[in-house]
């Protein structure tokens, strides 16, 4: 009676929280002009692999179809959306604004919890390569978290080329560079320090590489970093960050945004500004995204793009740690309609239920023909507010009993 490892059933209370959050998020995406796209849950592995680095390729859940093609469950949503826009929407005026909300699948065996199915909501702004587009998507990430009613969070923005520029300017053998890069990706600074000490790299650059994860703050970080690098790629990355940061200031969002030159994201398709969202309540990022100008060209169209995704399970976890009630839905009152057993009363009960539902209330109809005491116990445990009793006594009137107090009143049908 089991389900495969890493999967979960969502019980009613969890579903209602999830849907509440989905509604808050899709509302804000829609208001910013983003339209929803739904893509298949599984696709040809070859298509999904076009947007996946070597780690992600291993993490994909794959199987064969009847013809022997390799199929994979989507591990993220950006690649399918790049495929759709590049193959089916070439004629549409640009930029395109899309959002998605759907489950993705990975063998995340070594991650905490090891969840293999999780829900992502996100946007893609496709066919725009200016800083305003980067800023819009980051601003929308902030709005998305704010509207989900999370209070305590930061979005850190960085640039993929800050790191790339440093790596390019280092004078070392390719093999050594790859080792250095891998040590950084694995966050292994012990190994990194050893490797740097063996290689012929300037002290200033060594210091910079070792300091990278902590280069975080407001504008002063950029000024400090400008003095530490002298390669074109890193310098232009710093300039871009500054422009986007200033635009976000125009949005009035500086309290949520930090500059962070230590961000390195796992996906291989990023080409520019990248960002991640953090909260004190989680030890891992809550959302992330960035610019990917070359991904669509892997599907035949040259469309510079940017976007982000937020993990809904993570967001729910953060929201509940911040305020346990933050996803409690105010539901309309619940009613249970019972009737004394005969044909006329049944019809009268149906009418009563219909009328109450019309008012927007939640109405269950008793189907078990149970004794009143039993019905009362059931109503209590299900937090039903009122029991309605339909009997022969008065035509067009029904008896309403408040479950907690037992108070009775006669109301119109």
């Amino acid at each position: 009676m089991n389900i495969p490892e890493g999967l979960n059933d969502l019980l009613p209370e969890e579903v209602s929280k999830r849907r509440l959050l989905e509604n808050r998020i899709s509302k804000i995406f829609t208001q910013w002009g983003y339209q929803e796209i739904i893509t298949p849950t599984f696709e040809f592995y070859d298509m999904l692999a076009r947007g996946a680095g070597s780690i992600m390729k291993k993490e994909m859940i794959k199987f064969f179809d009847r013809e022997g093609n390799i199929i994979a469950l989507r591990p993220e949503m950006t690649t399918p959306l790049a495929r759709v826009t590049s193959t089916k929407m070439q004629q549409e005026p640009k930029p395109l604004r899309f959002y998605y909300m759907g489950n993705v699948f990975r063998y995340d065996d070594f991650k905490v919890g090891g969840q293999r199915e999780f829900c992502q909501a996100g946007v893609e702004l496709i066919g725009a390569n200016n800083k305003e587009a980067d800023a819009e998507v980051i601003a929308l990430a902030v709005e998305c978290l704010k509207n989900s009613e999370l209070k305590n969070f930061f979005i850190d923005i960085g640039h993929i080329n800050f790191f790339n520029g440093i790596m390019q300017s280092i004078k070392a053998k390719e093999k050594r560079k790859l080792e250095i890069k891998e040590a950084i990706l694995n966050k292994n600074f012990v190994l990194l320090e050893k490797m740097l000490s063996f290689s012929d790299i300037k002290d200033r650059e060594k210091e910079l590489i070792l300091k990278m994860p902590t280069l975080r703050g407001r504008e002063e970080v950029l000024e400090g970093a400008e003095k530490m690098v002298n390669n074109k790629l890193s310098l232009s990355a710093l300039k871009e960050i500054k422009k986007v940061y200033n635009l976000l200031r125009d949005y009035g969002l500086e309290e949520y945004v930090l500059i962070d030159l230590g961000i390195i994201r796992d996906f291989d398709y990023y080409t520019g500004i990248i960002f991640e969202g953090y909260t004190d309540y989680l030890g891992f990022p809550i959302c992330g995204g960035g610019r990917y100008d070359k991904l669509c060209s892997r599907f035949g169209e040259n469309l510079p793009s940017t976007g982000f995704a937020v993990g809904l399970e993570r967001l729910i976890m953060a929201l509940e740690r911040e305020n346990i009630n933050s996803l409690d839905l105010k539901k309309p009152d619940q009613y249970l309609v019972c009737y004394q057993n005969n044909k006329d009363n049944f019809k009268k009960a149906l009418k009563a239920a219909k009328n109450l539902r019309k008012k927007g209330l939640i109405v269950e109809l008793e189907v078990g023909k149970r004794e009143f005491a039993e019905v009362l116990n059931y109503a209590r445990s299900k937090r039903i507010k009122y029991i309605v009793m339909v009997d022969d006594n008065q035509p067009n009137k029904i008896k309403r009993i408040e479950v907690t107090s037992g108070k009775e009143e006669i109301i119109n049908l």
Binding site: G113, K187, V190, P213, R216, D280, G283, F284, P285
Partner: protein, 228 residues
Amino acid sequence: MSRENNTNYLVIALPSGKLFKPSIKLLEGIGIDLKGGKEINRKLAFFDQEEEIKFVITRPKDNPTYIECGVADIGIVGEDVLLEEKKDVYKLLDLKFGKCKMVVAAPKEREQKKYYKNNGHRLKVATKYPRIAADYFKKKRIYVELIKLYGSVELAPQVGLADMIVDIVSTGRTLEENKLEIIDEIIPLSAQLIVNRISYKTKHKRINRLLQDIKKFISLESDKIAEW
């Protein structure tokens, strides 16, 4: 324990087992009074109100898990665990104690050349570290069969469960007692300081101060520490 209570505290996860005492010594060495660790050892979670530090004690293998998901900010852990578990945490400092090495060892009497006949074909290797062992043999292009054990690995060759073992060696006494000899050293190991990837950003000042204190202490006391 959830992270919500921890925003003001620095949470340090200490491993139980043989790294526990040296970890306490290290922290006391940089001026955190832990009364020899007796108090913490009894409680599993221990607060130092003044320093705003909270300590938790974890099983050595679990330590990086606490750090990865952020219920603790800083951990001390054996490098063997890090190599085997591959957690997404910052590995910031080699603490220079708990020194040992990961080795391949086999019964003494056998002729060494024979082990890798046909590149290890049909060779059985017992280990607590299947990932490290697999990586090592893969790199060497030796095709062995790994047998995962949870302890007393050195017993496996004696009773015919395996031909050789991959395990940690510190003094070499256990190998000697079981008539095993080292045929290759895979990697030297020591205790490491790890940090949660978000904490390293959000609590950077406090973590960095601690890091600098520890670094200074290690360089001053390096001779002693190696003996811990």
